[in-house]
Amino acid sequence: MSSAMKFLVGGVVVAVVIGVLIATSFSGSTSDYLNVAKVKALGPDQTRNSRVAGEIVPDSVEWNTRELLLTFAIRDETGELDISYHGPQPDMLVDAVEAVVIGKYDPAGQVFNAEELLMKCPSKYEEKQ
Amino acid sequence: MSVALFFLLGAIAAVVIGYPLLPGQRAAQAAPVLSDTEIEQAVNRLRRAPSASGSHCPTCGAVYQAGDRFCVRCGSTLPQPGAEGPLQASAPAASITPACPSCGAILREGDQFCGKCGRPIDAGEVA
């Protein structure tokens, strides 16, 4: 094989390896965008995280300082969902602001256990919690 | 009032932009006598030819007279007549074999110093 050919083949091999690496990274740990109704329809054996966005229901925010437990409800056009989150109360957490929660739904307790909580703020250039 | 200022600014801009188009200015923008390519070729020819006033020390570039054995500016030993001159130093980078950046002498693989001029060679300098 001429050395130019070796060069090209080598390049293609490297490109393919990189492609395979990337392709295999795109599975697992991903989260699906769902609405409230679809989340409530999930069974107990969820393999993937779900991601739901909704407006925070007024007066639903409760914060237990000792346990660092945050509970609130979000609402979208398909219904209302109770959220439970362990962690510091995020900035900008206030009524009628949109929140995105990522985690798994517990059908038995009818509560969504959020691992990650992102506040989506209405004004420009807002950053994530 | 704002309309007046708008036209004033527009007029100033038009003057600046139109200035080179005035007949007097137009003549001053005469096309260059030599094209870019011609200039490049002339420069390359000058680089390759030894200068009229003498040869250049391969180490420091100072001009030396034929017959000198050491450069009077840096003290290095000078190439003797018949040895390879500074030609290869200015050759285009597409040269096949590694050349000493100082004197252009052909280097062997693994050389730490140039055999002709004694210049230390970094691995990264070999082009």
Binding site: S3, F7, G10, G11, A15, I18, I22, S25, G28, S29, T30, D32, Y33, L34, R51, W63, T65, R66, L68, H86, P88, Q89, D91, L93, V94, V97, M119, C121, S123, K124, Y125, E126, E127, K128, Q129 | S2, L5, L9, A13, V16, I17, Y19, P20, L21, Q25, Q29, A31, D36, C60, C74, G75, A93, A94, G110, R119, P120, D122, A123, G124, E125
Partner: protein
């Protein structure tokens, strides 16, 4: 409103001047009428002056609180501190677009001011591209995002700047990012000029090299400042979230890095001509793509920008630009064939190819990940989003290989190197890497990927240090010119004086200065590579070993986090600050380690009158080894407070790496006065 009307009028004039510049350049070069090209050049000075005037007008309106202007009303208030009034200029879409246009016109004016010889043929074509880009931006400002738009009635007070944006970073981060975007226009314009004229040799690369490096470094520093901002201000202990807005600056950075490297390949070996024109245009197109991503509403982001049709105009511009580029590349495929021959697999050429594949592969993957929700939604009706873990799974190995290449490339020779010689060249570095790995394992580091990452970094760092040492050592052997002349004259006159000491043994500082000065480009590049290694160290350390504790404390109680003991000493609850718009909740904690008091930290959790919800100010104690990061999550009236405390190892190395990157870029781009220096 007089000033606002003038501002808008100035934008109209800017559009007209930019259009003239574009048209006159192309006609001037086609019809051989240099006076038209000169007129176009003047028109580009005019656009710079006019957009400066526009910017000044907006600043005046902001500082004089002219709330009749909608943009002023939305972003400032009478009680906003002056430094933040400045930041408000680019806090919104309209202002940031004006900032971008202004920066582009200034850089273009600087570019066309000088008339170097190499540029004679390419210049008019580059001017067309630059002028039409300016015209496009001006057009968008006039039609879609007018910063001078007026309200129907005059409000008495403005909404003011969001408190999350009232900090030092908002003053510096957006200007640096937009400067970077504007700078990347220049190599793209010259790539297109090279295609249009068929002059596809390395002249356009060499000529634009300093602009390219400035663009690259600005974007890199801008990204790091963004990460620093996220870390300091947002209170989640991280500095990178793989959010679409963050990603859309990273993607052009990776592609731009690939371009910088393949440019070297064309300059040295006349290869990769097609790559270079394509990558230059692609990098610029991707900076524009960032705005499309963030404004079109196509991608969900927590950086919730208001949707605007401007995103789709930008997409159209990108499509047009890429179509023109590809079309020109097809037309010029003969001239795109370089003279360099592809060499052996064990060659620096192949190492460069692998480097570019890694960089472009990671850019493509980040782009795909950013668009993944849109893609999966159109295919499976369910939008799926990637988590940080997905990104780490490919960026980790790709980054690892890139770090290894930083260590290998400098010792691989052009054209061909034998396997034995290559092994000999990297034997010391391999030893260093192995020793590092063993040391880490002995010290208790168990994560394999962290050990590999640190070992690879040690490998690459030792290559850089060895190269540096070799260069300095060579210059310590060389006799400097001046002192040797003295030797020669003294010898000639028969004096038996010893030559001055400096002529025999230049000290290491002089030798270093000579080495670097003699090849700024190479040593600057190595310094930049070294800065990347520091950043990798920071990333590895902070990702591998973050410790987090969440605890609620009453006054007087203590908590243990890692090696630290934090004692909650005091608090301030709901105290209204002077100026009246901030209600302060602050906790005071003393930090101890091993019984010795280290410092006192004061995290805050405040309320602002113009923003709903609380804003926390994190307290950080930084040293080279780790950051102690304390967040006050909430406080009750009796002082009972919830804290989140993190120990983040090695984060400061990211910022140190940024400083070294600036230094390296300065070295690499510093103008040289010596003739014959590698440039």
């Amino acid at each position: 409103m007089l000033l606002a009307d003038i501002g808008y009028g100035v934008l109209l004039l800017t559009l007209a001047a930019a259009l003239w510049a574009g048209v006159a350049s192309i006609i001037g070069v086609w019809r051989r009428r240099p006076e038209l090209v000169a007129s176009a050049r003047n028109a580009l000075f005019v656009t710079a002056g006019l957009s400066t005037l526009s910017a000044i007008l907006l600043l005046v309106l902001l500082f004089s609180h002219e709330f009749e202007v909608r943009y002023v009303y939305e972003h400032v208030s009478t009680y906003l501190k002056p430094a933040y009034v400045l930041a408000a200029f680019w806090a919104g879409l309209e202002g940031s677009q004006l900032l971008w246009l202004w920066m582009l016109t200034i850089f273009v004016a600087v570019l066309v001011w000088r008339r170097p010889t190499w540029d004679r043929e390419l210049r008019p074509y580059a001017m067309v591209v630059l002028a039409l880009t300016e015209a496009f931006f001006a057009f968008l400002l006039i039609l879609l995002t007018n910063p001078f738009e007026l309200l129907a009635s005059v409000p008495v007070e403005g909404i003011s700047l969001n408190p999350l944006l009232q900090n030092f970073w908002m003053i510096v981060h957006p200007p640096i990012i937009f400067a970077a975007y504007a700078l990347w226009t220049i190599p793209a314009a010259y790539a297109l000029a090279a295609l249009m004229t068929g002059r596809l040799n390395a002249v356009w690369l060499r000529g634009t090299r300093r602009w390219t490096l400035a663009a690259w470094a600005s974007l890199g520093i801008g990204i790091l400042i963004g990460a620093w901002w996220a870390y300091l201000e947002l209170g989640w202990g991280g500095y990178w979230g793989w959010d679409p807005v963050e990603n859309s600056s990273l993607i052009p950075f990776l592609v731009g890095t690939a371009f910088v490297h393949s440019a070297i390949l064309q300059e040295r070996r006349d290869m990769f001509r097609a790559w270079n024109v394509l990558l230059a245009v692609l990098t610029f197109a991707l900076t524009v793509f960032a705005t499309f991503v963030t404004r079109s509403g196509l991608i969900q982001s927590v950086h919730a920008f208001a949707e605007s049709p401007i995103g789709w105009y930008y997409l159209g511009y990108i499509v047009l630009l890429l179509a023109v580029t590809v079309g020109l590349m097809l037309a010029r495929r003969q001239e795109l064939r370089g003279k360099g021959e592809l060499g052996d697999l064990l060659s620096r050429e192949f190492a460069f190819l692998v480097t570019n594949l890694l960089l472009l592969g990671s850019a493509a993957a980040v782009l795909l990940g950013t668009l993944w929700p849109t893609f999966t939604e159109s295919v499976t009706k369910v939008a799926t989003s990637l988590a940080a873990e997905n990104y780490n799974r490919f960026m980790g190995p790709l980054g690892f290989l890139l770090v290894l290449l930083i260590g290998i490339c400098p010792v691989v020779e052009w054209r061909k190197i034998s396997a034995e010689r290559l092994l000999r060249n990297i034997s010391v570095q391999i030893l260093v890497a192995v020793v590092t790995a063993v040391l880490l394992l002995v010290l208790g580091v168990r994560e394999l990927w962290a050990v590999l990452s640190f070992a690879a970094t040690a490998f690459a760092a030792s290559t850089i240090l060895l190269q540096m040492a070799q260069g300095v050592a060579a210059h310590m052997r060389t006799v400097p010119a001046v002192a040797a002349a003295e030797v020669a004259t003294m010898g000639a006159s028969g004096a038996a004086a010893d030559p001055p000491r400096s002529s025999r043994h230049p000290n290491v500082f002089v030798a270093t200065a000579r080495a670097v000065g003699g090849n700024r480009r190479r040593y600057g590049g190595q310094l930049i590579h070294f800065s990347i290694l520091l950043i990798v160290i920071g990333i590895t350390g902070s990702q591998a070993y973050q410790t987090e504790v969440q605890v609620a404390l009453a006054k007087g109680e203590s908590a243990q986090v890692g090696d630290y003991t934090l004692t909650y000493q005091d608090y301030i609850y709901r105290q209204v600050e002077e100026g009246g718009n901030k209600i302060l909740n602050e906790a005071t904690l003393d930090v101890y380690r091993g019984g010795r008091k280290l410092t006192t930290v004061r995290p805050e959790h405040n309320l602002h009158s113009n923003v709903e919800g609380a804003v926390s100010e994190v307290a950080i104690r930084t040293n080279l080894k780790e950051d102690l990061y304390v967040v006050l999550a909430s406080m009750e009236s009796d002082g009972l407070a919830a804290f989140q405390v993190l120990v983040n190892p090695m984060v400061v190395w990211l910022w140190i790496g940024g400083l070294v990157m600036i230094a390296g870029t300065l070295v690499a781009t510093w103008p040289s006065r010596k003739r014959g220096e590698a440039s």
